[in-house]
Amino acid sequence: MRDVAVISFAQETADKDRERNEVEFIIPVVQEAVRASGLARHDIGFTISGSCDYLSGGPFTFVQGLDAAGAWPPVKESHVEMDAAWALYEAWVAIQAGEVDSALIYGFGKSSLTDVHQVFNLQNDPYTVAPLWPSTVSLAALQASALLAGSDVTERDLAEVAARSRRDSLDNPYAIVGEDVDADTLLARPLTYAPLRDADVAPVTDGSAAIVIAADDLARELCERPAWIRGIDHRIDAPHIGTRDLTTCVSARRAGEEAGALQGGFDIAELHAQFSHDELILRDVLGLDGATINPSGGALGANPLMASGLIRIGEVARRISAGDAGRGLAHATQGACLQQNLVCVMEGE
């Protein structure tokens, strides 16, 4: 295996940005991630993005996105219709295969153009579930209900996660909701999507993120303290949520196992928990005792779809590079009720 590290990271978020289009969100993060990497744009071996055409309601958004990535003369390029954390995985594989020594990864999306929670109903079973139009939030709330009924988790536990996330978001300039609040205050608020409250649900966020990764001596040469990827893996559960035990998450557990996460020892973890109960489930299956969870405020502070998972990797990597953490775990998710999960374990040297 080659040693591969995150060497630069940039992000951009907004609450319903009415001025910039999706592509214009990419420009600053690609510019900054490339600048901070120390590599010239065309010395980066591979370019890959993650986005979703259903966010903008038009085909091939990622092709226009290439204008913002600096893709001429032609670059070696790929795209995933997923969160860009999966694009980073593909880039990592390309480096392991020896095809390239470095890669630019970016993810972008504007969730504010439509009722995004309804849009993702289209990923449900088109015969028996999608015609009923359960939103992303409704399905997540079913998981919360199952967890509350089938484990010792309480509504207060959810509120504690939400309150901590909102407090930590105050220190994150990229978070779009932040609040000095405690669990009691949140518990007094209405059950908007019973058993979930607004604060249990990630805010609709526009945004983008970019990361440059590099291998071996190239990473050492470019970065004082690279965030080395020690393990990365992703796994998926069955789509029909009735077939799954919603009080746990087998695919996240398996991805963690394959990524070498289960030996623990983490200083920090950034979990792509888009709902309060997601964090409780993930902490349980990934064994994160002792780790500071979501110091950025996590996805409950800002959740730009298609970039949010990549941001989790970036948030861990930048803390490792800054010397604030030695070992960290980043997680990304896709699909209804934590269906698909990616775990990335990173360490400083």
Binding site: E19, G57, G70, T114, Y127, T128, W133, A149, Y193, H240
Partner: protein, 333 residues
């Protein structure tokens, strides 16, 4: 200021008439069952009963073919409240619950809806009965909603549905359901973005405004906000000429390609406007189609009603200058 207001257009993503989907064996059984007021599941490899049924085992992928009628009553295993149903999407028009309902005899719950007056009427473990739609067509909403067991028994939630066929397993309608039509409609408020908004506002003044990046001479029209060779933001605005050169073209002889297409035959051309470094795709009129040629010099013709809309540059027509030499546009042809 009015000039910085974002340009926003309402956009509907919809396939007219809906998606037509064929069902296959398991879903045909399921929806044919619902039409008859019966709930059909399937036995998995490890002996559990799953509803709705699939043709394959959820864990091993093995073929499944032992269909089992379940219910009609069931139990709520998880629920959430929908305070504001969305018109055109949710089939119930007043607040309701989504739930995982496990019909009696099944081991795996299904996603469906429960119709009660308030979330206070919902609880995990509550007993529910199906309320069948009065007219059933072989669709998932033939099971209109689950309702509390007592409500169904007293008939208040019923639809006057004849369930005589249920026990015997014989459908009133002989032909099995083999396909469904699913309407899908999504609506968006698309914003043009900074670069396109500036460009379109320029058009409202009859101007063509391109952009270039600091340190570059390449002017992009229409601008997309970045220089595609470097990704650098194109922050410098440059008004380009309304006169340009046809670098390449095609003649369309097929009518009806779009609602806005002119009468055939017509010319669509790549036009390199003087001062721009990307060709502009436009129509060429005012010349017989057989006389159109590379190098032809043309000028923009605008609609009288100038507005921030790309369609107000109607077409280009010859301006009478001699043809441009090939070398002046060869890199763009």
């Amino acid at each position: 200021m009015a000039t910085t207001e974002p340009l926003i257009e309402h956009h509907v993503l919809e396939y007219p008439g809906g998606y037509t989907r064929s069902l296959g064996t398991a879903l045909s059984r399921y929806l044919t069952g619902l039409r008859a007021g019966r709930i059909v599941g399937v036995r998995t490899v490890d002996g559990r009963v799953m509803v709705p049924p699939t043709e394959y085992d959820p864990e091993t992928g093995a073929d499944l073919d032992e269909y089992v009628e379940v219910g009609p009553a069931g139990v709520v295993e998880a629920w959430t409240w929908v305070a504001e149903p969305v018109a055109g999407k949710h089939h119930l028009t007043k607040p309701f619950a989504f739930a995982l309902v496990r019909p009696d005899g099944a081991d795996i719950p299904m996603v469906h809806v429960v119709d009660v007056a308030s979330p206070d009427d919902m609880s995990v473990g509550m007993r529910v009965m199906p309320r069948w739609a009065p007219e059933r067509v072989g669709y998932v909403t033939d099971l209109n909603a689950w309702v509390p067991e007592g409500d169904a028994a007293d008939g208040s939630a019923g639809g006057g549905v004849d369930r005589q066929g249920a026990g015997g397993g014989v459908d009133h309608q002989a032909e099995p359901v083999t396909g469904i039509t699913v309407p899908i409609r999504l609506e968006y408020e698309i914003n043009a973005g900074r670069a396109s908004s500036k460009y379109l506002r320029g058009m409202a003044e009859g101007k063509l405004i391109g952009q270039k990046a600091v340190g570059s001479d390449a002017v992009y029209l229409p601008p997309r906000g970045s220089d595609p060779t470097t990704g650098a933001p194109t922050e410098i605005e440059v008004e380009v000429s309304q006169i340009g050169t046809v670098t390449t073209f095609c003649i369309t002889n097929i009518a009806g390609l779009s609602e806005s297409a002119p009468e055939v035959p017509y010319i669509a051309a790549q036009i390199l406007l003087d001062g721009a470094n990307t060709p502009y795709l436009g129509l060429v009129q005012g010349i017989a189609v057989d006389d159109c040629r590379m190098g032809l010099r043309v000028k923009a013709v605008w609609d009288e009603n100038l507005r921030p809309d790309a369609r107000c540059l109607k077409w280009f027509e010859p301006n009478g200058e001699p043809d441009a030499a090939y070398d002046t546009y060869r890199e763009y042809a």
